[in-house]
């Protein structure tokens, strides 16, 4: 309903951020794997106030059929925001921003998947942002990666994603909505951390090349931390399954 106001300061006298974090501190992140009944794989993330669900269907038959590829699976990806996920109600029709994000998220995950193992099929990835408080593209990639793993899709590595940026002249990691909106720059990246391979790289705002290098390194470090949390979440899931099997 309301337009958020720009806070007076994005970094306070103690060098802390609007939500009390240190510059290099991620928001609290909680991953859950296997949260939806019908999907072949699914996961949920809460990262600060950002809440996202990801579901994977496939490999399955492609409709319409002429989209099928003879030598590999087609990865399809829809990034979509719930109308109630943002301050002003968003129309459920896909916006241009959602279409671009669907593309870059897909291209951030494709390098990790052994698509050639499932020719003539599609792997359909659906991402629903239930609450958007900044960093949704990175959180989407991280959680989608878990949903793919949960669906048993063979991958070279998990893909972890994290942004770094500049707010009030200071480089920080994992920007929230206010920092993203009123900050000076945002550099979201995604990585197959184990392979040192950057699969998403975008930037808006302005950074000189030196700042950019520092921000990039901070984002890489953020990805490393998220990567560990992803692995932890998968372990937990498997532990639960093992428990249930042993019952």
């Amino acid at each position: 309903m309301f337009l958020e106001k720009r806070p007076e300061k994005l970094i306070d006298k103690k060098g802390l951020r609007t939500d009390g974090r240190k510059p290099d501190e991620l928001r609290p992140i909680k991953f859950e794997v296997g949260v939806l009944g019908n999907a072949d794989g699914s996961a949920r993330v809460q990262q600060g106030k950002t809440i996202i669900l990801a579901a994977v269907y496939g490999p399955r038959e492609v409709h319409p059929r002429h989209l099928a590829l003879p030598d590999r699976a087609v990865l399809r990806c829809r990034y979509h925001m719930a109308p109630f996920s943002v301050s002003r109600r968003k129309s459920p029709a896909p916006s241009r921003r959602e279409m671009e994000l669907s593309k870059v998220i897909r291209e951030a995950l494709e390098p990790a998947i052994f698509l050639e193992r499932y020719p003539r099929t599609s792997i359909d990835l659906f991402i629903e942002v239930l609450q958007a408080d900044g960093g949704t593209r990175c959180a989407s990639i991280s959680v989608a990666s878990l949903a793919l793993a949960d669906a048993g899709i063979p991958m070279r590595d998990l893909v972890a994603a994290c942004a770094a940026g500049k707010v009030d002249g200071k480089l920080v990691v994992d920007l929230n909505d206010v920092e993203d909106k009123y900050g000076e720059a945002d550099v979201p990246i995604a990585m197959m951390v184990g392979l040192n391979a950057v699969t998403l790289l975008q930037m808006d705002g302005m950074l000189d090349p030196k700042e950019f290098r520092t921000a990039l390194n901070m984002a890489v470090e953020g990805c490393r931390q998220i990567y560990e949390m992803q692995k932890e979440a998968l372990k937990e899931k498997y532990a639960l399954i093992r428990e249930e099997l042993e019952k």
């Binding site: 019908n38 699914s42 669900l53 109630f84 239930l130 609450q131």
Partner: protein, 264 residues
């Protein structure tokens, strides 16, 4: 072949139900476990999540200032929308709402509207000029049958969770007071009860399997004083007058039972 298998399944299910049993062990008039959580989305004015067995629905309520309709210049606007997002079922496709999503939204809308659950006159700011619009967005997250009841419960829970902002009118402009909050004026609590007809029997709260094999679906919505405020028959079968009567004879009590869970 597909049809053949479906027919065999259907016969077994009808047989089981004729003995008063269901494949998941429930009684014919028993709902699946219901879990209701309010306030799941901070950025929405109101929100809730309902799990009805494995069916899962989220509802977010947003409030905006808009121009009233010409024929109701002194009333706020209620808009109910449902999205069958494709992560909820292998049969849901991305794209604009199809007839199932539209029917779902309209049946939930009809219950709220007929019961006058929201006092729309209270949502008028400047008659003919500015009123509050209440957007109720139903988001189906997992489809395991009986989306109507789960959505109706979730919509009611989300409306009960909704906080309005105070405002004043200054020179024709609406100024919102962000520190003044009060609940949405809710006057009634419509609850829908959905039956599936399988053979000669009615069951409540059909599972997805039951929905796929049922002849016909019947939803009755009941308001606080026990009046019926919406009915919708769905599916390609028919009902006898006796069957309608049977549904009618249990629906008020059943609705009261569910209402207690939702209103708390």
């Amino acid at each position: 072949m597909r049809t053949l298998i479906a027919n065999i399944k259907r016969k077994k299910l009808v047989q089981l139900i004729s003995e008063g049993k269901r494949s998941d062990g429930r009684d014919l008039m028993e709902y699946r476990p219901i879990v209701i959580e309010r306030g799941i989305i901070e950025k929405a004015e109101g929100s809730a999540r309902v799990k009805l067995g494995e069916t899962e629905v989220a509802v977010g309520v947003k409030i905006e200032v808009e121009r009233p309709f010409e024929d109701t210049p002194d009333q706020g606007i209620l808009t109910v929308n449902a999205e069958l997002v494709p992560l909820a079922s292998p049969t849901f496709e991305p794209g604009p709402p199809d007839e199932n999503a539209i029917e779902l939204a309209r049946v939930v809308d009809r219950g709220i509207r007929s019961a006058e659950a929201i006092d729309l006159k209270e949502l008028c700011i400047i008659p003919g000029e500015k009123v509050f619009t209440v957007f109720v967005d139903i988001y189906v997250l997992n489809h395991d049958g009986n989306l109507i009841d789960a959505s109706a419960m979730c919509a009611l829970a989300a409306l009960l969770d909704t906080k309005m902002f105070g405002y004043e009118v200054k020179g024709g402009e609406v100024v919102i007071k962000e520190d003044e909050r009060h609940p949405l004026p809710i006057k009634n609590h419509p609850v829908s009860i959905t039956f599936a007809k399988l053979g000669d029997e009615l069951v409540v709260d059909p599972s997805l399997e039951e929905e796929q094999l049922m002849d016909v679906r019947l939803t009755m919505t009941v308001e606080d004083s026990g009046k019926i405020c919406a009915i919708q028959k769905g599916g390609s079968g028919f009902l006898t007058l006796e069957e309608i009567d049977k549904a009618l004879s249990v629906v008020v009590d059943k609705a009261e039972e569910i209402r207690k869970l939702v209103v708390g």
